[in-house]
Amino acid sequence: MAIKIFTNFFKKVLNNIFRNKKNIKLGFYGPPNAGKTSLANRICKDFTGEEIGSVSKVPHETRHVQFKEKVEIKYKGKSMIFKMIDTPGITTKVDYEDFLKYKVKKKDAKSRAKEATQGIIESIKWLDDMDLVVVVLDSTENPYNQVNITIIGNLVARKIPVLVVANKSDLKKANVKKIEEAFPEYEVVGISAKYGKNLEEFYESIFKLSKKVK
């Protein structure tokens, strides 16, 4: 019994020492067009010089889960290694006709819709593999959307630490406070991935939440 307690204690100490060496799987989840890829790109570009994926005004630009291995984020003298996982936006409906408004050809719109539905299934399947998740929301949109609640509810059920990001804070219609009110139990950071606004607070929160990763 005493040996077991002793071994567990040393395991804990060693884990804490080498935690920053761990490749923490950091997922980006949220509804379509909230800026998940823009944020992941901003981080990857800053620390590796390369982007993770393409961005577009047309919804469902990301239709497959995409990764960037071993991204070392350095902040205020600390450093941590992450596996960045950018996921397709989750929604309850996909209509190819919505893409026609963006002048996408009918044939392409249909194939984009098909890939989008498969991407959503892929996103959900990946939930189990995450260590830490950033839920990216568009701060110009109503946060009381069931999909947002469903994503966060699933992360809580799986005991995965969550950080809520209120993106597009540079826009006039942005309302970061409304997102804070909608999710009072979670840390909410207002940022602009496009202009790199308030990323210091974002990194601070990520480092803090990383300590909760099991």
Partner: protein, 135 residues
Amino acid sequence: MAKKKRVKKIKGFAKQFMPYQEIKHLGSTERIKKILKIVFGNSILILQGRLKPEEETRLIEDTMAMIGHVKDFKGVELAVIGSGGAPDGLFEKFKQRIVTTLSGADLGAITIIGPATVVKEIKQDPKKIELILGK
């Protein structure tokens, strides 16, 4: 006299209320199957209680799998009105947990699920839900 405004009628949809009792004994797969069967029939389902978070994602997965396979199906609109926020105090929390455990669900909540071809949008805030219907 004011002219009567022409309102476009939405043909062929119904509302259906389902007490939680009706799906309580079912497993998650059967539960979602039953819900989607109603939605495929162009009905808006008003369900007493709410699904578990993993059932909600399963519902989204199954919905996505059916788009392109069921004629004119473009997905669903989904919303849940909670039972009035988190209970205050330890005793209230304990009481709510017992009620939820005994009934198997948060019976104070209401879940609304409708086909996206009928329910264009569900506008939601903490206290109300607004259904916008249309083709």
